[in-house]
Subunit: 345 residues, 2 copies
């Protein structure tokens, strides 16, 4: 069991800020990234918390991100917000673009935000929670560099990134319904961890270099991951790829992998993102969609409180309890992780 250190959330924010400031990132970008990291720690999303700080720094050092990037936001059509991330990290681009997306969705009924030239290195629920907090339905998807094959085997050709999809439906006076899930059956980090632990993978997660199914983690990492849900899950990955990278004319996942100068490490890669916002105020002639959907949530949540798994954030009271506890008591961070972040400063 790793030695843990208790940090208050302001200390998490400060530790991230100090490390990120060493990279010459603009203060506004550092603030946006540190806030995103702090929110992840607060909500128990450790894999997108302080754990990411060294990767952000290395991404700048490798020249993959532009430290001085100032995002540009433009209304390209009445319902289309374009954000040029200028080769910077996503949090600042999103902080600049999301208010315009929400404004366009309220004015037009629905709007999309097309984000390009951005390095996305955080979880997607941030974007859709922002929208749900404003009473909007949100859908977000992002493409990453390719690790995942199409279909159920017979090829190890890496076509897709882990290609997450996040969705939020607002609830009045409740935690919004939010899920945020990769199209890959298993996270790449989990495969690595299984290898370290000497464990086999569950069936259906990966193929070897010749496209044959494998349960061996090292073989899987050399081959290709598979999507969740067989061919139907592959179609979801394909949809995410086309929405995030296709519509924004950003590098497709396989192109991002080919162009990457750090293929084996945990650094971010230039990609596209698409965020959709729908205002429930205009989609029903009578009745309030938000109130209407409550009976569904009651029915699902009634089965088993907090039933949605770690891939699905924010539904049920578990996440809210965790958030409240983190705000009151702070969070536990591995001492060696904190030391490695402090050593960057």
């Amino acid at each position: 069991m790793a030695s843990m250190v208790r940090l208050q959330l302001v200390e998490v924010h400060a530790a991230a800020t100090r490390a990120l400031l060493t990279t010459q990132l603009l203060p506004a970008s550092v603030e946006a990234i540190a806030s995103t990291i702090t929110d992840a720690e607060r909500d128990g999303c450790k894999s997108h918390g302080l754990f990411r700080v060294p990767g952000y720094c290395k991404t700048v050092q490798l020249g993959k991100a532009d430290a001085g990037a100032e995002p540009a936001v433009e209304l390209a059509a009445p319902s289309v917000v374009q954000v040029d991330g200028a080769r910077g990290f996503a949090p600042l681009a999103l902080a600049r673009g999301l208010p315009e997306l929400a404004k366009a969705a309220k004015a037009q009924g629905v709007a999309v935000m097309a984000v390009r030239n951005v390095l996305h290195f955080a979880s997607l629920w941030h974007e859709v929670e922002y929208l749900a907090d404003r009473g909007l339905v949100g859908l977000a998807c992002v493409s990453t560099k390719a690790y995942v094959a199409h279909g159920v085997g017979a090829s190890s050709d890496r076509i897709y990134g882990t290609n997450p999809l996040a969705f939020a439906f607002p609830r009045a006076g409740q935690n919004h319904l939010i899920f945020d899930q990769a199209s890959a059956a298993m996270a790449r980090g989990e495969i690595s961890l299984a290898g370290i632990a000497g464990e086999l993978l569950p069936p259906g997660c990966a193929v070897d270099e010749s496209g044959e199914p494998t349960l061996d983690p090292a073989t899987a990492l050399r081959g290709a991951q598979l999507t969740f849900g067989g061919i139907k899950g592959s179609n979801i990955a394909l949809m995410v790829e086309l929405l995030a990278a296709g519509l924004t004319a950003s590098p497709l996942a396989y192109q991002a992998a080919e162009n990457d100068n750090d293929p084996d490490s945990m650094t971010a890669t230039l990609s596209g993102e698409l965020v959709l916002a729908i205002d429930p105020a205009h989609t029903a002639a009578t009745g309030d969609p938000v109130a209407h959907a409550e009976s569904l949530f009651g029915r699902i949540l009634g089965q088993q409180d907090g039933f949605l798994p770690s891939t699905s954030r924010h539904c049920g009271s578990q996440r809210a309890d965790l958030r409240r506890r983190s705000e009151e008591e702070g969070v536990d961070v591995p001492a060696d992780l904190l030391a490695s972040i402090t050593s960057l400063t």
Copy 2:
């Protein structure tokens, strides 16, 4: 092997039209339904072809559909088209609404069509193919009456319909990329057919009345179906439910099942549908998204032509070949099905 009859597509259309006209459906509605049925036969989607005619007729006879329904189309916001189906079948409502949706998407960059008071009894690829034919990216989803549980078991509570999701991305001078897939792991009709054939179901398709996994078709039909892809697939079903029934304030799947006066038969049920259209002309600052995505299609289709399964229509040349052959040579229809349709007139 059932005895088959070769029909030209005009004969398919005429047979459907004659049967549907006996129900007092308005001629415009009959024409829209007959065209939808003919398109399904043309493309090899037998389960949405002439097979559906008796169901359409019975749905009217049971008073579930209003034969005289005249849909109303309204622009509720600059990017939101509302269609009130007036308790009629979906094809006429869609024929009236889709041109307005495409117009709004071209003008605003993105638009949604919220369809309510409609009985959807056809496949969804029609809607998104219409949009792709006009250069738009399309996404459509519809909720049906509930047969499907949330999650991977432990409850047989029927929450979702089969909840299909259809997606189209346009291709220039090629068959568009289109998939149309249920969120249920297996079609209900396939479970019935497995029972008749004395076969077991694949694992992961259904639970019995106490929520325990079952491979027995009859037990599955009494219990609940499961979604594809475990909890991630359930989240897709949930998203479809919220977009289609939630946003339109239409009966949720479990409400539709409770209200249904023909729970065990293949008739349509009042539901909501949401269709999204995005114009690629506004989502990228430089480059053409449609041209950009071609290299992805080349990479996937290059692996195995027509690789997408029966849940996924229109990608690759197989569907195009089938369509061309049907137009030239006609289609084969079971003689007993044709006799049952003729007997309605």
